[in-house]
């Protein structure tokens, strides 16, 4: 819809600006808090402008271990990055193959397989967390990257989304590829994957953020700070016993923790938006 009215344009832009401001305000407050000293934060009300010890705060945070943990923020960020990337890539690989099998191959109990996958949508990590923990513990995968990643990489959502996309591929395209001598792998590599590029980019972004924001699972299976993720560490930094919470460190870590997901979105947003709006046909 497009209306040719100037007043409407102005009002909509004002509304948009107000919305952006509203969502940006907490981030801004976190950022300003991270540039003040601890004493400032406890003697003044929440600062609205940048303080004078910002660089020092960040430099200290990046070079020294975090309070109460014997791991630096860089290590925590790296752990999160490994976990989020592992989950996103793993989910995509598994979902691509599962959806490919379900849509393009005829085998017994095909529908049953699909519904079994679909039903697991109703079983998020939290519901199956105890048995999963048991399995991972028995496999000696506590405090390891594989333990962080593997239990989370099966994805009914991604399988379902890709299945829906694959179903829109005209059957003639599959047949043309068969006549052109493309076997199953070649069809997947040469035709299906390039066609689902935008969907995969969108899925990667969503799954990366999902992985990055995981809290309960990493909290449960990591006791070693070498494998702790930045999201878990944020919570850990707030539990300081009788001491004051170092808000400047917490907010600075939070700001740093926002970086990688934002980067992923910025890099993939071109595909991401396209993938959500329309599949490139």
């Amino acid at each position: 819809m497009r209306y040719q009215r100037r007043g409407l344009d102005v009002v909509s832009h004002l509304l948009l600006a107000a919305g952006c401001g509203l969502f940006f305000l907490p981030v801004w407050l976190a950022f300003t808090a991270s540039t003040h000293s601890m004493s400032d934060l406890y003697t003044h009300i929440a600062p609205l402008w940048i303080g004078d010890v910002g660089l020092a705060n960040y430099a200290r945070l990046l070079s020294e271990p975090v309070n109460g943990l014997n791991a630096g923020v860089l290590r925590l960020l790296f752990n999160s990055l490994v976990m989020a990337t592992g989950i996103a890539v793993g989910k995509i690989v598994i979902s691509v193959l599962a959806a490919y099998a379900i849509v393009f191959f005829r085998f017994p109990f095909r529908r049953l397989c699909f519904w079994l996958i679909f039903i697991t949508l109703m079983l998020p990590v939290e519901v199956r967390i105890l048995p999963t923990y048991e399995v991972v513990a028995n496999l000696q995968m506590l405090d390891s990257y594989s333990g962080l990643i593997l239990p989370l990489i099966a994805s009914a959502t991604a399988t379902f989304l890709l299945r829906q996309f694959y179903l829109t591929i005209p059957p003639e395209l599959v047949e043309a590829a068969r006549i052109d001598g493309a076997g199953p792998w070649r069809f997947l590599k040469d035709i299906l994957l390039p066609l689902s590029k935008t969907n995969l980019a969108a899925l990667f972004v969503i799954m990366f953020i999902y992985g990055w924001n995981q809290y309960l699972w990493p909290l449960l299976i990591t006791t070693d700070a070498d494998y702790m993720t930045v999201v878990v560490s944020l919570k850990r930094m707030l539990t300081t016993g009788d001491a004051l919470v170092p808000w400047q460190d917490v907010t600075a870590t939070a700001i740093l923790a926002m970086g990688p997901p934002v980067l992923v979105i910025l890099i993939l947003q071109r595909y991401f938006v396209k993938g959500l709006v329309d599949a490139e046909k």
Binding site: P170, E172, E175, A176, R178, I179, D180, G181, A182, L195
Partner: protein, 369 residues
């Protein structure tokens, strides 16, 4: 170049539906066979079994005397042009055309050379780097053809390749397909539901109905001597007129009592159908002896060169369509006297099979009042 032999080819789907009831057909080298029929007659299924996209339930299919029943589509050395072209949307025109060659492990230079040569042949030279969505319908059609040609296959299979084009382009591409097929000399099987396409393209025409081959032969043979009422009704536009009749005293009688002396021998009292094409009915000159059919014009369709008159015989429900000259001054409600030659008459029995004409083909058709 290849010969194609179908022997009692059957296709039964797992749900029990039989799409092909044993099709026999042999295709000579370089021949263009057109399979035509209404939707659901099994013509597409037949083409897909030739391509290897559908398995063959029974019977045998050979290409160049080699049994190919169990071979994958890619191993049969065939190329197929699809109705919706089925171009790979993410590949350039050159990529689309070269994909099959690439899959066969042909060297890149050789692929490029062959794609360029084919593109030249089809006038696609300028478009090689474009994506399919940047092309017009006619150009996509050409790319689909090019993708088939570049492989230099034994057999071309066409699945209603022109039905997504507008009328003008369709005529143009029809000629082009004919020209290319003759020039390349490749055996081709072409499926369509458009009888004009079928008539104009075919070396031989196969009319299918309900999974059976109704008749197979040269287009003009099928037009002039349709073996069944179905073939008669399917070929020709506008369709053949059919009038119910009963054999009576060596001639036939229409339900409204008009008797015609026709050179067909039917047992007395046997019901049958008389078929006569609109183009074979003509207005009787006033001097003609024994004018045959007195009809009333109920509707007119001027087509330019011709004028179609929808007329009815008194006392009959069946339309009798007459092709008049475009400049004819007919008007609705007008009465016309029509005459026709018995050589142009077709009689079909109750099962729809053609009834042979008696010896005296020169006999005059006369109304016996």
């Amino acid at each position: 170049m290849a010969t194609l032999q179908l022997t009692r080819l059957k296709k039964r789907y797992p749900n029990g539906f039989v799409a092909l009831h044993g099709v026999d057909l042999s295709v000579a080298e370089g021949e263009l066979i057109v399979i035509v029929g209404p939707s659901g007659c099994g013509k597409s299924t037949l083409l897909r079994t030739l391509a290897g996209l559908e398995s063959i339930s029974d019977g045998e299919l050979t290409i160049n005397d080699r049994r190919v029943n169990e071979l994958e589509p890619a191993e049969r050395d065939i190329a197929m042009v699809f109705q919706n072209y089925a171009l790979y949307p993410h590949m350039s025109v050159a990529g689309n055309m070269g994909y099959a060659l690439k899959n066969r492990g042909i060297a890149k230079d050789e692929v490029r050379r062959r794609v360029a040569a084919t593109a030249e042949l089809l006038g696609l030279g300028e478009l090689l780097e474009r994506r399919p969505r940047q092309l017009s319908g006619g150009q996509r059609q050409r790319v689909a053809m090019g993708r088939a040609i570049v492989r230099e296959p034994q057999v071309f299979l066409f699945d209603e390749p022109l039905s997504n084009l507008d009328a003008k382009l369709r005529v143009q591409m029809r000629l082009e397909i004919r020209r290319l097929q003759k020039r390349l000399g490749v055996t081709a099987v072409y499926v369509t539901h458009d009888q004009v396409e079928a008539m104009t393209l075919a070396d031989r025409l196969v009319v299918m109905n309900g999974g059976h081959v109704e008749q197979c032969g040269e287009p003009m043979t099928l037009y002039a001597q349709p073996a069944t009422r179905f073939v008669a009704s399917f070929l020709g536009s506008p369709a053949m007129n059919f009038l119910p009749l009963t054999a009576h005293q060596g001639g036939v009688v229409l339900p409204n009592g008009i008797q015609l002396a026709l050179p067909f021998t039917l047992p007395e009292g046997r019901a049958a159908t008389l078929g006569i094409r609109p183009e074979h009915l003509c207005e009787a000159a006033s001097t003609t002896e024994g004018a045959i059919l007195e009809v009333t014009v109920e509707m007119l369709e001027p087509l330019g060169a011709d004028m179609l008159a929808y007329t009815r015989l008194p006392g009959l429900d069946e339309w009798l369509v007459v092709r008049l000259d475009g400049a004819h001054a007919a008007h609705e409600g007008q009465r016309l006297s029509l005459t026709f030659s018995p050589a142009h008459c077709h009689v079909f029995d109750a099962e729809g099979r053609r009834v042979a004409m008696a010896e005296e083909t020169d006999a005059k058709v006369r109304a016996v009042q």
